[in-house]
Symmetry: C2
């Protein structure tokens, strides 16, 4: 149930919340960021604002976290907004759109570029509040039993990929499949699946997919970054004293940054182990990327026709994305590319 | 003076700190991040932990902020650690080293990669505590009256550039100069200076340098990112209740992320205005970058001979940097480069 109103209990009331996650404990970065924020809120309030975090399935099934938060059966949820694009495609922006913003751009859009205000308005219409609580950075494009050499190779490809990426790839003939992460190994081994994407080296390594689908493709253009979300029931939020609200907001921002830092530490080392274990790295050929980009643009036009919320946010988002991509070519890009060139020279 | 011990006043004592900044209010990103953190600490503690922030010169001169914090004449300071490499070159790591980590890498190193623990040890030996409080992202390489077409063009160049970058460039014949930001316009106009670097479009625009030195070079290889620092007197820190310490630490992390977001929103727009106002963008030629990289490596060998603290931290840092640069070539780099290519196609 919802927390009791705080004011009756003085300025530092004891508040207990239940927080349901869509993720398991084993995801040390994604789940770890949520766990870090919950603990920090405890520290900031001397234990008076107590949030108990529950992994997927413990209180509610993974994909019902948003609904449970909206209804108030839990005060808060930890999930990815794009799991809910079936309700409205505008849920995509809170996590990632194909050929979207990288982690720097996504943070800039959300925290200072006007993105969060647009999302707040949309989420209010959905009866929920949300804030960022972790970003994965650019993801890998997953594991493939055979090489993808041409756009033709995508036709009929039985690929475990979800959401907007699946909708883009369907336009190129991919047969998008939804399977739980734990079922991917067997499906790839048996050949009922040709390919599967998950996150990146650190998370993928735990699934062992390199043993059954050795080609590891990049870049994962559908997730140039992906933001995880902390969803909050508006009544539970309104019942908090202002300094407890500040504690949750500040702890969430800290965890958002930490999540990417943790990935950036762990991914290179996991990648080294995967390659040593037989993974073969492959870049998507340029024509495959171009065809995918064109298909994504067609999808965005369709979704804008279908959803007024998507259309409104997309117009702001795409302008912002294009500014970021242009700027990057005169600063971050040349620096990063030179560092890469210098490292290859040795 | 130092804050009175907190425990005698109950668990939420009134604490007042004075915080001296090396920066003026006009730097909306750098100063703005410190200001944001101070206000957040107030919110988190219902105004009980009150930190008054003072711009450069109000309490102490800009470059004496560290000393004032060490001595306890202020409880805390806001500065850039690399201003103090004259004390020990190991002060460089807290901000930036030439050909160093980009913002993602720097955050990863500091927050999760073991970097902060190494810096903590070094700072303890210096009688101070420090935490990150903002990152500029990759900087531009500044404003030049004439083009830099060859390594020879660096010889005798009167360039306003400081710290380790100045030491690297001195090896290539640059005459490194130190001038206050406010004096650069006149010096470039008169020709007593040939070139000057500051930060990036958003900060540079305020100085108007494009009117007197139109070539705007990139990448600023000496600051692939630059971390600002919150310095704290260890006795003042120890006197804080644990939840006030947590408030300061969490607010600083939030501000660190926000600073980069603010730059990423403002820089592209400022760049557009600068180019419209006559700035001419130029990339350093590859041989200039290669010669600079080689000179930086030579400098790092010298500094490692000179300072045991530099040597210890450098060994950890360079290994971490190389891991980051390698990983980036299979994920962030190909994604960002494809987005750039797609934008140029239009």
């Amino acid at each position: 149930g919802l927390a009791a109103p705080a004011l009756a209990q003085g300025s530092n009331p004891q508040v207990r919340w239940r927080l349901a996650s869509s993720y398991p404990r084993s995801l040390g970065t994604i789940y770890g960021a949520m766990d870090m924020a919950v603990k920090r809120v405890g520290e900031l309030t001397e234990g008076r604002f107590n949030i108990s975090l529950h992994p997927a399935g413990e209180l509610v099934p993974a994909l019902q976290v948003l609904d449970a938060t909206q209804s108030g059966s839990v005060e808060a949820g930890h999930s990815a907004s794009y799991f809910y694009i079936g309700k409205d495609p505008a849920y995509g922006f809170g996590t990632a759109l194909p050929f979207g913003l990288n982690a720097r751009g996504q943070n800039a859009w959300l925290y200072e570029g006007g993105g969060q205000a647009l999302l707040d308005e949309f989420y209010a219409s959905q009866g929920v509040l949300a804030m960022p609580i972790g970003n994965t950075g650019a993801q890998m494009a997953g594991w493939y039993r055979k090489e993808i050499k041409t756009v033709e190779d995508l036709k009929g490809l039985k690929f475990r990929v979800g959401g907007l990426a699946g909708m883009v790839l369907a336009k190129l003939g991919v047969v998008a499949q939804q399977l739980a992460a734990g079922d991917l190994y067997v499906a790839l081994e048996k050949g009922t699946l040709d390919a599967a994407e998950f996150v990146g080296p650190y998370d993928d390594e735990k699934l062992g997919l390199h043993k059954v689908a050795k080609y590891y493709y990049y870049p994962g253009w559908w997730e140039g970054s992906a933001t995880l979300g902390l969803f909050i029931n508006p009544k539970a939020w309104a019942a908090l004293p202002a300094h407890y609200q500040a504690a949750l907001r500040t702890a969430a921002a800290e965890a958002n940054q930490w999540c990417t830092a943790k990935y950036d530490v762990e991914n290179p080392r996991a990648m080294g182990r995967l390659v040593a274990g037989g993974a073969v790295l492959r870049a998507f050929p340029r024509p495959v990327l171009d065809a995918s980009y064109k298909a994504a643009e067609a999808l965005y036009a369709e979704l804008s026709d279908k959803s007024p919320a998507f259309k409104k946010i997309f117009e702001h988002w795409v302008k912002f994305r294009n500014e970021q991509v242009l700027w990057q070519q005169f600063c971050e890009g040349p620096f990063d590319n030179y560092m890469a060139a210098a490292s290859r020279r040795k």
